[in-house]
Amino acid sequence: MSGEPKKVDRRNFLYAGLGAVALVAIGVAAYNAMNPSVVTQTVTTSVPTTSVVTTTVPTTTATTVTTATTITTTTGVQKPKLTVLFMSTYAPAINDWLTARTLVWASKRGVDVEISTASYMEIKPKILTGVETGNPPDLVFGGGDLVALLAEDPKARHIEPVDDVYKELGEDDMVEKLVKWYTIDGKKYAVDLALHANQVHLIKSFVTEVGRKPEELDTWDDYIEFAKEVKRRHPDKYPLGFTLGKCYDGTETWYLTWWPHGGEMCTGRSSTAVKFDSPESRENLQRIINWYNDGLINPQMLQADEMLNNNAYLTRSAAFIIEGPTPYYAAVTRNPELAGDTILKVPPKGPKGRFTWGSQWPLYTFSASKNKELAKDLMIFLMKDKAEYKKMILSGLLAVGPIYKSLIEELANDKNVGHLYSVYKDSIPIVTFYSYPLSEPTKAMDTVQANYLVADLFSMTLIDKKDVDTAVKTVGDQIKEIFRRTYGQ
């Protein structure tokens, strides 16, 4: 080994330099790959294909794609590519229909589509990060509790109004409550794919076993009395299949028992308009605690899991559940005997009336989307052809109802399925949203709902052993604080 300093090889400089250049080149290439040069497309209905693209874009009779002028006939044109994000529902046939119809649309329009699906839990982070990075999906189905968050504040209105879609679809024929739920400052920001309203899944054999008839069960008192009778006969059962965990269904349990007993959330957009901390809330929480302590609700229901009540029904470990009828879909497809032993009914009535939870199944697009006009065109394609739309509703096996009043009427009067679909007709007047009685989309209530704050009432009292007063006050203060933070008052 020589002590002489090692001579520097010039080639090494060259390699290092090339390495740096290659790294930069890879970065630039990756950036370009994520941001293709085709920047805008607009959809029209009758104008022929523009001269810029006629030789390279597949033409269609219905749609013309006009691209930015950077595209020339000699370089070739990329087909527009629509990125679509669908929430996976518990009724897979509906997702299959959505995918199939989207592909039909893409084929007719000469458009590429990239369809991805995400569970209810996954879809929100995907949408939010897309919005944050300025690269949201072109069309979303799901994430209903994000619409007000992303559309209410004029300073951060990320969702594109779809009033023109409503015009095409015929707003007059739609269930008004569903339209109102997406209307902010006079503009509509989403359109519901379907009405997903909670229904009682009542297992008839339990009812007959205790010597009653399903039609006799109408009020909350009737149902609880029935549940207690089932418990007496089957000590190993937990007749009320109600989720109490910190999750979406946990909040449904609260609202479905709270509203009929006079519970109200807010009357406006300020902390002083929040009505949560009330005697009705205390009574309702105590009522649910009593049910739990009486062994009517399975302690497993404290887990944060939307499948628990579905499973309680599917395994007959509960006598009834109240849920958007996707569990019924599961019973029809996997356990027909149970489906045959089930009756779907609107939720029980309380002293202040009858209410049901209306889940949002919205379709919407974003202002930052490069293909928002195409996305709107797809929305129209999916929902305008009522014969096709009806197929989707029927494929859901009662999991959803239509948003069109005429179609609800038609299905409710159908000699084959009318007796089943009348439950959706009965649901329309009682569909309620979490900002009731305001019943408008609000960013603050989206935050309250996304946090599943009302479900904290159950864990505070049943796990942490706090008293009812403290629990209601704590959650009420948290809700007020969210309103204060959101609206500054």
Binding site: K124, L128, L149, C247, P299, Q303, A304, A450, Y452
Partner: protein, 285 residues
Amino acid sequence: MRLRTREALEGYSFSTPAFLLLFLVLFFPFAYVIYISFFEKIFGYEPVFSGLKNYLLIISDPIFKYSLYISTLYTVVAVIFKLILGLAFAILFAQEFRGRTVVRTVAVIPWGIPLFVVAALFFWFFDYNLGLANAILKALFGVKLFWLGPDWVIPSIIYVNVWKGIPFFMVNFLGALQTIPRSLYEAAEIDGASAWQRFRHITIPGIKYVMLIVCLLSTIWTFGEFDTIFFLTRGGPGYLTHIVPIYIYHQAFSNFSVGTAAAASVISVPIFLALISIILWALRR
């Protein structure tokens, strides 16, 4: 002098691409997290400077304090169990017996299963009505437990982590055990050392450094684990399994507050480092 400069330049030119890459994927996101933690930042909204407000909010949040506690408990207990059981299995599988290769291979399987699959497996394993755990309990003792209910959820998630993590410890210890010269044990035996003395004075010193690294890595992974617990419990029931990563996730995607999520991340770093230091110190001793 000129040559030295050229050598230095050469060094810099070689290390610059790697440094840039490291900066992009590691330092930049971390620096951005620190930066955004000083802003009130809601998804989709412009950040507004808020000084230390996010930190004060997080520090005063009892759920965050509980998250730190439960994360630490979960990590420490799980790593201790993995260490003890991993070592026991390694010593067992280091012995000569018929079918040793098959048993060793089977024992490693849990380590190879992806986290979300493990979570799905145990989700059904622990189910009150349909789960295998209760089927066994019912058959043996006539009782059923709410494994993911308030009373049993913490032991249950620790059990899942230990089940998944033991093979990692075992394989590493097995490798380390094979590097200890057989002659040391023979000499100790001739000198009359008991089995415990041989274990204490030969085995442990022989695998000490492997043990240190394995525990360190496992601590890092366990403290930062998200998938399994999120899938199994989503941090519940209530907030019982609200470990730090789930707390941060909820700040970001339920509370929509990127600023407080970032502040919670930054606060947890020194605590995390302290935990690692304590473990290293304990193992060195």
